[in-house]
């Protein structure tokens, strides 16, 4: 007992921080919906136009089955290397096999899932071996049009072939990753791949859709808006930020980690909240003010001008007009940040007046 008290006492303090900062469970994602995802999407589309556009978004395809993964079908052989290890992802029929070799020994695993839409910036592969799931050590990046080390996989070279192949996914990893990239991936603490629908479907964000669908069935007599049906329309800017932040990371989650590194540029709700102009009660700075989750986000800076001008065009007394330009505001005030290892330039959602050569404001 004496041997370990020192460490135990130190750990307690660390663990409190990590547990509080970490998002082990995103309660809203743990829907015990009884309906199948794809059927729900089609059912919703009968009445809701949004459900017709949403399936074409990257979010709706945030998880792809290996059969449907366009990157893997379009690239029947992907190769890459990391340190002394060489990698291959080879298409065989409608399946893909991921292999890593140190020159002598080779490990091969079937690819089960692709995390990230084929149309998005990149994809990480979920592999299976002996009934366990692994996150691939190498990912596909659009900018490379090929493989590179998975972001967050660590900069150090793998210690052995097993580590070079990928990282064993813990139970929590499965809940986190599939919880955001798929729908109905979990029921409580249970990982439910058999009930899971790939990608972010209607019921991922709109709870109680099953009850709503049942109510809308002819002559059901049930209330059309059942208790618990989630609508973002009535949420405040702060609530929306926390809602989207369940996957895109909230301000609180990142702030508690107290690591203001450039890696945080990926976490838009956190960055937006750090903006000087962020107002938790002003809908003009809500995530939804600029992004309709039912359509793909525009990459054209000009498309966001009206959003900025809603305040800076005279709509808000304390929001000054820009002396430089009234168009393409985001190209200066939300600079693109090159995140090392991501092979992608993220729009920094910390809206600000960028000064030349300023350090990245964590």
């Amino acid at each position: 007992m004496i041997l370990v008290r020192y460490f135990a006492a130190q750990l307690t303090r660390q663990l409190v921080i990590i547990r509080l900062g970490g998002k082990l469970v995103a309660p809203l994602l743990y829907l015990a919906a009884s309906m199948a995802g794809s059927q729900g999407q089609a059912s919703c589309a009968k009445c809701h136009a949004e459900a017709r556009s949403q399936p074409s978004t990257n979010m709706a395809r945030a998880l792809e089955s290996v059969e449907d993964c366009r990157i893997l079908t379009d690239h029947p052989l992907l190769t890459g290397s990391f340190g002394r290890y060489s990698y291959r992802i080879e298409r065989k029929g409608d399946q893909s096999v991921y292999s890593v070799s140190d020159g002598g020994t080779t490990i091969s695993m079937p690819v089960r899932w692709a995390m990230g839409a084929s149309s998005a910036m990149g994809q990480t592969y979920i592999l299976e071996k002996d009934g366990q799931l692994y996150e691939s050590r190498m990912s596909w990046f659009r900018e490379l049009n090929g493989l590179g080390p998975t972001l967050g996989g660590g900069n150090a070279l793998p210690a052995d072939l097993g580590e070079a192949a990928g990282r064993l996914m813990s139970h929590d990893d499965k809940l986190h990753c599939f919880g955001c990239h798929a729908t109905n991936a979990a029921a409580g603490r249970e990982f439910t791949p058999d009930r899971m629908t790939p990608g972010v479907q209607c019921e991922h964000c709109h709870q109680a859709t099953a009850a709503h669908l049942a109510a809308m069935a002819r002559n059901s007599g049930l209330p059309a808006v059942p208790p618990g049906l989630t609508s973002l329309q009535n949420m405040s800017t702060e609530q929306v930020s926390n809602f989207c932040g369940q996957c895109h990371r909230t301000w609180a989650e990142i702030a508690m980690q107290a690591r203001p590194t450039i890696a945080n540029v990926r976490f838009q709700p956190y960055r937006l909240t750090e903006s000087k102009c962020y107002d938790p009660d002003d809908a003009r700075i809500s995530c939804l003010a600029c992004h309709d989750p039912h359509t793909e986000a525009s990459a054209k800076p000009v498309d966001y001008d009206a959003k900025c001008q809603a305040c800076h065009g005279g709509g808000k007394a304390e929001a000054k007009a820009c002396p430089v330009s009234k168009s393409q505001c985001v190209s200066c005030h939300m600079p693109k940040i090159d995140l090392p290892g991501a092979h992608y330039k993220f729009s920094d959602h910390r809206i600000r007046i960028v000064k030349p050569n300023e350090p990245y404001p964590g």
Binding site: I2, P27, P260
Partner: protein, 374 residues
């Protein structure tokens, strides 16, 4: 530790007492031995009403109360015992154990220093004192008290570990390494795996630590604290379910284990089982009253209950008490926003930014831009 804090030999002038009083004490002791601590405490109190001057009985009552997790009451009884009989070393050792268990390490060290001076041969006091010094970052003190003991007890793994670690931290690496290697040479022992596990935790090799703790438990599942340490490692490696199981095993060994109660409470809260979470936190709070981590968790439970004003009051008190408590500021900001106190929320967010920047500035090489603005 429970075992150690359990029984003090009662040496009283029993002959001078009435027969009924003597029987009362004997019965209380019997109850204490058999685990009926409530019964023992009641009978000790009954006895003390007749003989409040009985220092040893105050100490025994303290031990019973400590066993029930009522540490503050236990401390009060030990204090009375020591006022009446300052040389009652057993009472002082138990008082130190209470402080130690509550995480009041400075106070524990002060009492242990007195015990060590009084009874330098007491191994338990020596090791606990060394461990307190280690926790307080006073490695030179660890070396001072253990260096003379090491040659006398060359096979004592605790001495080897504590002294070895202290020497390594004081840059006397070669000397320290010899001692640490001595434990590892003993081969496939539970203690060696426990030590390797703690060392791996120290360098954040959580998977390695997890495996070492698993081996330690496989060899000796009764090893004190092993389940809790294993559970900690499992949390870091993302296996919350097994971690919870191990924390519960830790509580089987010691129902008042602070870490196990705190972490199980956090897990229950995560599961939205708030009633269960509260039970764990309150028990952790009994071990360490006023602990900011526990207070914080209770404030978060108030947030979950929707009693936002109560949560605000608790968090405001916390940040007043611990102005550097980042998480409390973060949560307070959120509570202010939910209460529509936007200006207060913004002020808290500014504090979070400042604290983060200060923490960042203390880390060499990371305060500057890691990337570039394009």
């Amino acid at each position: 530790m429970r075992k150690l804090s359990f029984i003090l030999l009662l040496i009283l002038p029993l002959a001078a007492l009435a027969q009924s009083a003597q029987e009362l004490v004997q019965d209380a002791q019997q109850k204490q031995r058999s685990g009926d601590l409530e019964g023992a405490a009641a009978e000790y109190r009954q006895f003390l009403q007749m003989h409040p001057e009985a220092a040893a009985i105050h100490s025994n009552l303290g031990a019973a109360l400590a066993g029930l997790g009522r540490f503050e009451e236990a401390i009060a009884e030990y204090r009375i015992a020591l006022e009446q009989s300052p040389s009652l070393v057993e009472a002082r050792l138990n008082l130190a154990l209470c402080y130690y268990k509550m995480g009041r390490i400075e106070e524990a060290a002060k009492e242990l220093e007195k015990v060590h001076t009084e009874k330098p041969a007491n191994r338990q006091a020596l090791l606990l004192l060394a461990d307190c010094y280690m926790q307080l970052g006073r490695e030179n003190e660890v070396i001072r008290i253990l260096e003379p003991e090491a040659p006398k007890s060359p096979d004592d793994p605790a001495i080897a570990y504590l002294l070895g670690t202290a020497l390594i931290r004081q840059k006397r690496v070669a000397e320290g390494q010899v001692l640490v290697d001595r434990i590892l040479r003993n081969g496939d022992s539970a203690e060696a795996h426990l030590m390797l596990g703690t060392a791996k935790m120290g360098v954040q090799d959580y998977a390695g630590a997890r495996d070492e703790f698993a081996k330690a438990i496989a060899l000796n599942s009764d090893l004190p604290d092993a389940h809790v340490l294993y559970a900690n490692a499992l949390m870091f490696t993302g296996d919350s379910d097994l971690s919870a199981k191990e924390f519960k095993a830790g509580l089987q060994q010691d129902p008042y284990n602070f870490e196990a109660n705190l972490q199980l409470g956090a897990m229950a809260k995560q599961e939205q089982n708030y009633a269960q979470a509260r039970k764990y936190f309150e028990r952790a709070g009994e071990t360490r009253p006023g602990d900011p981590g526990v207070q914080y968790q209770l404030a978060l439970l108030a947030v979950e209950d929707g009693t936002l004003d109560k949560a605000r009051e608790m968090l405001e008190a916390l940040v007043k008490e611990s102005p550097q408590f980042l998480e409390a500021h973060v949560s307070l900001a959120q509570v202010y926003f939910r209460l529509k106190r936007t200006d207060d929320g913004k002020r808290e967010r500014a504090i979070v930014l400042r604290l983060t920047a200060e923490a960042q500035a203390r880390q060499p090489g990371v305060k500057q831009n890691e990337g570039k603005v394009q």
